[in-house]
Symmetry: D2
Subunit: 388 residues, 4 copies
């Protein structure tokens, strides 16, 4: 009998072959802790490229497929102790839905990149399928995997900031400040600025949705209405490369969300400020191990990853002593660790430890799709407020 607490979980990857960016990050994140094993794949929409990519990565020939349909069929034929535990979907956005739906429908656990799908109908269908199957479905809103984001969540939810009044979240990049798409030399730019592959929004979908998720996962507040201004600054661009939103949350909090990919010189500038009646928190992804707490009635405090005074969720999400920098891959690995804990719990027939199974789920992905849809609707409206 397999000891499910010890064996490595097995996964297949769809997408993430040669020239891809984020697939390698997923693989490194899963490799990091030695608990998850890469055993199968369909790594590109081009069968030849898919197989070449799989050979690069050492996949066995009989599990290195030219398309995801073949991969799925093959896995279903394999015995349980060889079959993958889950699939990781890291394709461009437009491919997420058919793959996720098919694997979930077949009873596999799924991890899918964000934004989840293109439409609310697709999102609703996926949520329903996952509910019916009772399977695990993680969405890699990876920034919520940072320990200090979890510390922020704990501080907000336990009332340390008092009533939340103002939220300012920004996600600024500069890499799309000129017309780099369409030249064939920048595959990332090509598909992310193409409505057919990226969806109805550009910067708002690609990075704005991370900002939305960060706010929602930390505060639990629901957007009541929003007011968006989206722009394509670069001539000839088909999707927004810059957007700003006013937000109203249920309960009275107000907010601003900025997502920009034409902010020249900015790198991966995701930053958040949450002010409540008792204090403010600030977090910046480029210095992820710091969480700044500004109490209304005392000096500023800086919490750092690794401190024994952090909440358990933050402490569990940390691998190294304080002062030894952890980064993006570790945060990503924390999302996968949460998915893995949930899968292992199901394998063991036990309820998952909520502190262990800490990851964004299909419902979070669906909410993100709605955010994109409502933002695009607002951008086209003459009225100030578009309801959620």
């Amino acid at each position: 009998m397999t000891d499910t607490t010890l064996r490595k979980l097995r996964y297949a990857m769809v997408g993430g072959g040669r020239d891809a960016f984020i697939g390698a990050v997923h693989r490194k994140a899963m490799a990091l802790d030695g608990q998850i094993e890469f055993v199968a794949g369909a790594l590109s929409s081009s069968p030849d490229k898919a197989r070449a990519s799989g050979r690069d990565l050492g996949l066995a020939d009989d599990r290195n497929h030219g398309d995801w349909q073949t991969l799925l069929a093959d896995e279903l034929k394999r015995p349980a102790d060889e079959r993958i535990d889950f699939v990781s979907i890291v394709t461009p956005n437009h491919v997420h839905f058919p793959v996720a739906q098919a694997f979930a429908d077949a009873g596999f656990h799924v991890v899918c990149d964000k934004p989840l799908v293109h439409t609310r109908d697709q999102a609703d269908a996926l949520v329903a399928t996952v509910a019916k199957q009772g399977t695990v479905f993680g969405v890699t809103y990876n920034y919520t995997g940072y320990p200090m984001v979890r510390q922020a969540r704990e501080m907000v939810r336990s009332g340390q900031l008092g009533d939340i009044r103002k939220i300012v979240v920004e996600y600024n990049q500069g890499w799309l400040a000129s017309h780099v798409e369409g030249s064939g030399s920048n595959k990332q730019a090509d598909w992310r600025t193409d409505p057919a592959r990226s969806g109805a929004a550009g910067a708002i979908g690609d990075i704005g949705s991370h900002a939305e998720n960060l706010v929602a996962s930390i505060t639990g507040l629901e957007i009541e209405s929003l007011c968006a201004d989206l722009t394509a600054h670069v001539p000839g661009r088909m999707l927004d490369d810059d957007g700003s939103l006013l937000l109203r949350f249920k309960g009275g909090a107000r907010g601003v969300l900025i997502a920009s990919q034409i902010s020249t010189g900015l790198e991966n500038d995701l930053r958040l400020r949450i002010s409540g009646s008792l204090g403010t928190l600030e977090w910046h992804q480029e210095q992820p191990s710091q969480l700044v707490h500004l109490p209304h009635d005392g000096p500023k405090r800086i919490f750092t990853r690794g401190g024994p005074w952090l909440c358990e969720a933050a402490r569990r999400a940390s691998r190294l002593p304080t002062g030894h920098p952890e980064g993006f891959i570790e945060a990503f690995a924390n999302i996968y660790a949460g998915v893995a804990a949930d899968i292992r719990a199901r394998l063991a027939g036990q309820p998952a430890d909520p502190l262990a199974a800490d990851y964004p789920r299909v419902e979070d992905g669906a909410r993100g799709v709605r955010f994109i849809e409502r933002t695009v609707a607002s951008a086209q409206s003459q009225l100030k407020w578009t309801p959620w």
Copy 2:
């Protein structure tokens, strides 16, 4: 004959007596360089307090008045070589207009704090009076006195950022996060949250107008339309204590302006980011001697006050070698130095050197009044865009 290039300029102050905050800052700023002399005043709306405050500050009895009307009448009677060169108005906002109008109308040069007046009609009247008299009229948008703000202006205007696309300006404070007004113990809170004395807006008028001025003075861009959400978060408060705006500028730039006085723990967090097609600038008032330049095609650069590679306007606005911190009072003093240079030029019958007479004028003050009015109108509108 008086040698106007050497003698100290003489000023009277209206407002700024005991318990005031900003009056003392104006006096220190004027004293700093030894070029401006405090000779007369009407330092409070209460005659007794006015005179007591003047005695504290060493005013001669015959120039220490109980009200500004008496001060004005007395100055008009004095011989030219004794009379004040200008008046500095540092009262609560509602008193600005009558005093400024009366002194300007009498031919005196004027420096007035911001926001200039309560209404567009008042602003138009003042602009007309100053134009008619040909006098100097400075408005203490003091943040434009920082050397690195002037360096930013030079870099934007000379095209070093390319086409301006996105502007994010924030001015966050936390001192009004609880209901401190009305207790009698916080005079600043009392009048700044009172519509009769502060005007139609709270945070937007008090600090949002600084943010508007900072953007306008650096970029020269004109707002085409705006969309505002204003809130009074603290129960019982009569004016907004928090506001967020989307901005559209003529020429296509987009912007966000945030002004908040309920951002707990934040001190005087005025910060600006301007992104153009070639690069981005970032400036933060709490580290005023740094200007961060992020070129699209090279590593980040940090310009610091005092560097020989700065523009002449920035170098002239600096007193100390690099690394020796200058601050708020020096920036304030630079505004007064600009006013003084303009007055001295007129005394000498010569055109002013534009690099010396570098200060915000009555038209800047009038534009700030319009900004407040348009913001309040937008906040009350159901339509997304309120035209300028």
Copy 3:
């Protein structure tokens, strides 16, 4: 009868004329608060330049002297209600002693720049004179005027750091990284690298003595022995432009002191770290309003100037609300405010309030002279430890 609590104190300046740097800083610092008045001077060692400089600054002709001896003689002839209250000596170092000694001997209060004098004998003589006269004698170790330095002093002396174990103090500049002296174009470099005018040490005397004073004034610890390595990196330079010391303090603390004027690109990088058994403090002159406290048992805290939770000495040394930057001139002004408080107390025949009369005294200056002498002795010794 003169009301000494209200009238401005009167001072004469020796040195600080055209081309000087620090004299103007002293004058601005004294002007800032409107409590001290500039009435007389001998502003250069060249009589013509002295008088021209005094005319620039608006000195009356009969108090604008060509040399300090004439100034002193003239003041002694004037009636008490016109005579200066103190003299401020801002000449190159070699002139400090004769001027300070003469004015102190004549019963005047004195403020003198640092390093106080060239030799221990001179320092001892001055200390004796001041003790005999019972006069005020301030030394402008200006960095101790920063509010957060006073907060650090309070935290260390009240035991919040526990037993002090390690002190690292650095003062790094880059302006002498090339051979700028002797060309006639850099008066500051000329005299500061000339043993006849600067004294036995270069960087150690000019800036190392500030570092020594900062440590002593904050901790009160006494150096037991030291070990110095001094170097002149720039070919042809006559005095050290870079030095590093190991320090042993009475009671067991260890330290490192670095002073360098060839640290290219560094501006005025005076920084201090003090670690005790319970916590560490960090302060950096270029961000003077922050004091970082790292407790052994909790998250980092950042104290900022203006916070109501600061000690009274820090609060008194502050003019503006938190977040409104104060800088070098304000710190300088705090030293003068301490001197002024002490002089006013004597004028009133009352003991000075220690919190008000907070400034470095002639004994601090004498200790600084000893520090320079012992450092130079150590640099010439083959033995590791040179006793204090």
Copy 4:
């Protein structure tokens, strides 16, 4: 025939079992890129704990050994296509020598943690053995694996700083500020403060040797003489917990090296400043993706990991786009990637690409041992300078 460019390299680990700290970091670093496989081990000096640890980590029973001698004997018996490619030694310091010597002598490639061994004789023996065998021997001075450290090396070595004049390197931690050893609850403290296991030095060996290596690897400068003050501040501690050194380098550069484990509140504060005649570089391990360049003749520049303008060595050492934080594990993985490249080159019978085989070698480890020995000798000497 095995394709050595594709197959994963196989390694065994000695040390790193339950309760160890650094072993897990080595394993994660090797797992990260999917190029190195963990196949065998002797994970503790206690046979039972060794085997239990191996089971935790999924080692096959026949390669999970109770002691390193058995591991070595077993590997020598295995066929080449199954045998480990190298051993990774992550034991306490005193075990390094016998294990490294035995494996190297048997012809295995070796990676060993630092400090390499206890004595110069041991170091010389190891260097000789490796030279004789012609094998790969890496020492995990992991901080040299950071991309921006490699960028610093390129900038210094290519002359961008001019002649190097001053080097200040500090490595400060606070975790040994109280007497935590000996209680049985802190295994790391226990062996690192025990001369029998840690060696002749405490903080100097544990972290000072990293500082020495960082300076040497970036600048290539050789220490000519040094002057050390070592202290055990915590009562009862057997080894230094704090040390400061003055350094003189061949060619005239001067330096200061500080290593402290009693700097309360400091986390893993390794920082370096190198000043040359043309500019200064600053790097701080806690913000490893930034390299600050202060030219003598222009504004400060901040290079960040991922920029296309970095040198090739820095670009190769990077996995993620700029702004996506990489940290300690990635730097560690870069050392292993260098070792792996060198091993693969030998497997392929080809010379290694120097840019790929970029890692600290046995000679660097030997120099580190000498540094510790010379520092301890200096600390016991009355003379200022102890020659290298």
